[in-house]
Amino acid sequence: MSKLSGLGGRLYRGETSVDFIGKRRRWYAFSGVLIIASALALSIQGLHLGIEFKGGSAFTVTKTGISLPDARAAVASTKIPGDTIIQKLGTNKIRVQTAPLTTLQSNQVQDALAAKFGIATDAIDTQIVGPSWGKEITQKALYGLFGFLIVVLLYLAMAFEPKMAIAAIIAVIHDVFITVGIYALVGFDVTPATVIGFLTILGYSLYDTVVVFDKVRENTRTITSGSKMTYSQAANLAVNQTLVRSFNTSLIALLPVASILFVGAGLLGAGTLKDLSLALFIGLATGTYSSIFIATPILARLREREPAMQALAKRVAARTSAPAEAVVKATASSPSRTAVATAEKRGPRNQPKRKNRR
């Protein structure tokens, strides 16, 4: 742990530095591959939609010593139309999933199952979803998604800079796309709980990006007045400085989610908890990745196009293109030079500090 803390210190001063922005093409390529894979998975396999979206009924019977053949026989006796999926959950639960049924038909299924296993119909957990219901909630989820993106875009543009808002939104769309792709690829069920998970992730992925961008903004506030660092270098320093923080916030956020996933999948088998936390889990991981590897490089790229930033880049290049030996040193130590500068500037303030520490 303290090793990590020490790393935090070195990253902060720029002694240890990962070049996130310079190698952006590598990350873009990596994400590009993921996005293409997602698109392929989506178009070939499509999403595995739960009955909430396509309509249908699900009956869950809980009884010790329950067997699949019995359940099959019970369901077959009702002669209901459409495909029926019967699966075992854990040791004593069976879930029967059918196509959309009329009230009469679903009552028949309940009665047949209750009679077969000798339980009351009220003890069967039933979920019946009308065929047009899915369209309704899909539409609502999409409204929610677009509404969210627009409101957040406006808010971040006000709170930060318009270009930061654009970069953040691109990163969010990237996350949604990859998460959806993973769902298509693996074939996880998509339920309303999954959709909630997605929407929450959007907020979360932005949380991470906000933390990084806040530091970027701080590092670049007075950058054009000097000629020490280009925008990209300052942004890269910011990513490095917030790396430990990003790691910690993501890990802390993942811990409760992982515990929901573990308990939800382990104890309950299927349902709201599992669906929700799985989406959160996958989304959190991509969200952390994108705020570091995608959002900041895009922001740097957008800002580097500005004339002021290009002029700055030229000044920095001119400064560093002195003797050949100095070039290497200057790039490597430019962050620590700022540290020197600040330390010198804040020299007097170091005095009371030592007084406090006696």
Binding site: E218, I260, V263
Partner: protein, 511 residues
């Protein structure tokens, strides 16, 4: 920035006591509210204790044209509520969720009433005008004496039904939308104050074209309802009123029947052949508006598509509750453990903050259950668990800021203040984004999703509150203690921990 930070340092640093006092007052106030209100347990949703929930999507009934209006949905909710209440199950709820005319009606009934609920709520409620044949006190009567001889136009069977009907019982006032228009029926008054035998319907809801509440302009008091029929309605209502106005009471009354229940049974004073009727009485404004709404709804009745039905057995409910709580405890435990391991002494602050945030959340759950009928669902529990992470993230942002400031060469006491000014912004922006997400989820979603959005939004607000009135001031107080500002190895602020090598200017020059 640095100058303003400097000037603010003494001010913010001197306030921790006061801020902590505010927190204390809030906590005590919440706690006493909980006791005063007698809110001792969190209301659990149906998915945690078993029950049936039905979500209905209103649409225009077949054979009529028009659009679903918000007022029609309100009317439908009250009709369905009437039906559900007749089941006599405590804590049943009928609500409309969503916004405006695009709302769904959500019915939740605890316990094992599954099928009855589903059958009960889906029927379309119709409005009909029926002539009153017999009316009387609401209680059941014996079929003897005068009651044994049915009045003209009433069969013996109907008469017996009428005698047996007890309108004082809620179960008999359920209205099912199954009354046949072409048959005479027995019916209760909506409020259960009288009962009726009614003739077959002669005028239907679809025959109404307009209805509105109005006030007598000359006297300025006395509310009444204006009713306008369409062409076929004008003819039928004209014929009905022409016939009954000559008869003796109560047969000169025409009952307005919605969903099998009599809403009003005005006496017909004259033949109304022009298609415009005025219904007068001892109406208050509310009475008149209610009646006109009933008539408007009748003109354009709603049918319901069964969107989703969920029946959860009490066993599954308690399983889900236990799983949710277990997940919460494990999640909280892991987060606490990690903060203690990583942040050592500062971790204690985040443990305290999370515990305070947790107790505020719990007390608000109790109070909201009392005030706005907040119920905790499985999705809501999940929202609260996810919020643990978001809350802890705020502390991390702040702690890392403090450490950055110390690395910049500040003393701990000033790092705590300047770090706060910077972290505060990040925390506010990030929490605000989280709140936008939960607000939109709440607006657009139905059912369980709303529970998730509500708890997530609430806990984000609590997070902001706790960071401002507890975490920050307590860190200020602790920063004055030797254990922390001397950089004790266990304080989480030791030089080794921070990787601080810039302790002297010499070290800087080396780098």
């Amino acid at each position: 920035m640095s100058t303003s930070a400097q000037s603010r340092t003494p001010k913010t640093a001197s306030r921790p006591g006061r801020t902590l006092a505010i927190l204390g007052v809030v906590l005590v106030a919440l706690l006493s509210l909980v006791f005063i209100q007698g809110a001792t347990s969190v209301k659990l949703g149906l998915d945690l204790r078993g029950g049936t929930s039905v979500t209905l999507q209103p649409r225009i009934a077949a054979g009529t044209s028009g659009t679903v209006t918000s007022a029609a949905i309100d009317q439908a909710v009250s009709i369905i509520r009437q039906r559900v209440n007749s089941l006599g199950v405590a804590e049943s709820e009928v609500t409309a969720q969503g916004s405006g005319a695009n709302r769904q009606i959500v019915i939740s009934v605890p316990g094992d009433t599954g099928r009855r609920v589903v059958d009960l709520v889906g029927q379309t409620a119709e409005l009909r005008f029926r002539q009153v044949l017999v009316s009387g006190a609401p209680g059941a009567t014996a079929v003897t004496g005068t009651a044994a001889t049915p009045p003209p136009g009433v069969s013996a069977a109907i008469n017996a039904q009428y005698a047996a009907l007890d309108c004082t019982k809620a179960v008999n006032r359920q209205g099912t939308g199954t009354d046949r228009a072409d048959q005479p029926i027995v019916a209760c008054d909506r409020t259960g104050t009288s009962k009726f035998i009614l003739a077959p319907a002669e005028v239907l809801g679809q025959d109404v074209s307009k209805a509105s509440a109005a006030i007598n302009q000359t006297t300025g008091s006395g509310w009444y309802v204006l009713l306008t029929f369409n062409d076929s309605g004008t003819t039928k209502f004209g014929a009905l009123t022409t016939r009954v106005t000559k008869l003796a009471a109560p047969q000169n009354e025409v009952a307005i029947v919605l969903d099998g229940l009599v809403v009003s049974a005005p006496r017909i004073n004259e033949a109304i052949t022009a298609g415009n009727a005025e219904i007068t009485g001892n109406f208050t404004q509310t009475d008149a508006t209610d009646l006109s709404n009933v008539l408007k709804y009748g003109a354009l009745p709603l049918a319901f598509d069964r969107g989703e039905v969920q029946q959860i057995s009490p066993t599954l409910g308690s399983d889900q509750l236990h799983a949710g709580l277990l997940a919460g405890f494990i999640g909280l435990g892991l987060v606490l453990l990690y903060s203690l391991l990583y942040y050592r002494g500062l971790g204690v602050v985040s443990v305290g903050s999370l515990l305070i945030a947790g107790s505020i959340t719990y007390m608000l759950f109790l109070l909201f259950g009392k005030w706005i009928g907040f119920t905790l669902t499985l999705a809501g529990i999940a929202g609260a668990i996810v919020a643990i992470g978001i809350t802890a993230d705020s502390f991390i942002v702040y702690f890392e800021r403090i450490r950055d400031e110390v690395r910049e060469g500040r003393s701990l006491r000033s790092a705590v203040e300047t770090g706060w000014i910077r972290a505060r912004r990040t925390i506010i922006v990030a929490d605000f984004v989280s709140m936008i997400a939960s607000a939109l989820l709440y607006i657009f979603a139905v059912g369980g999703v709303r529970g998730f959005a509500f708890t997530l939004g609430l806990t984000t607000l609590i997070d902001l509150f706790v960071v401002f009135v507890f975490t920050k001031p307590i860190v200020t107080v602790l920063a004055k203690r030797k254990f922390y500002n001397s950089g004790h190895p266990l304080s989480g602020l030791s030089p080794k921990n921070l990787g601080v090598v810039i302790t002297t200017p010499n070290a800087v020059k080396e780098a």
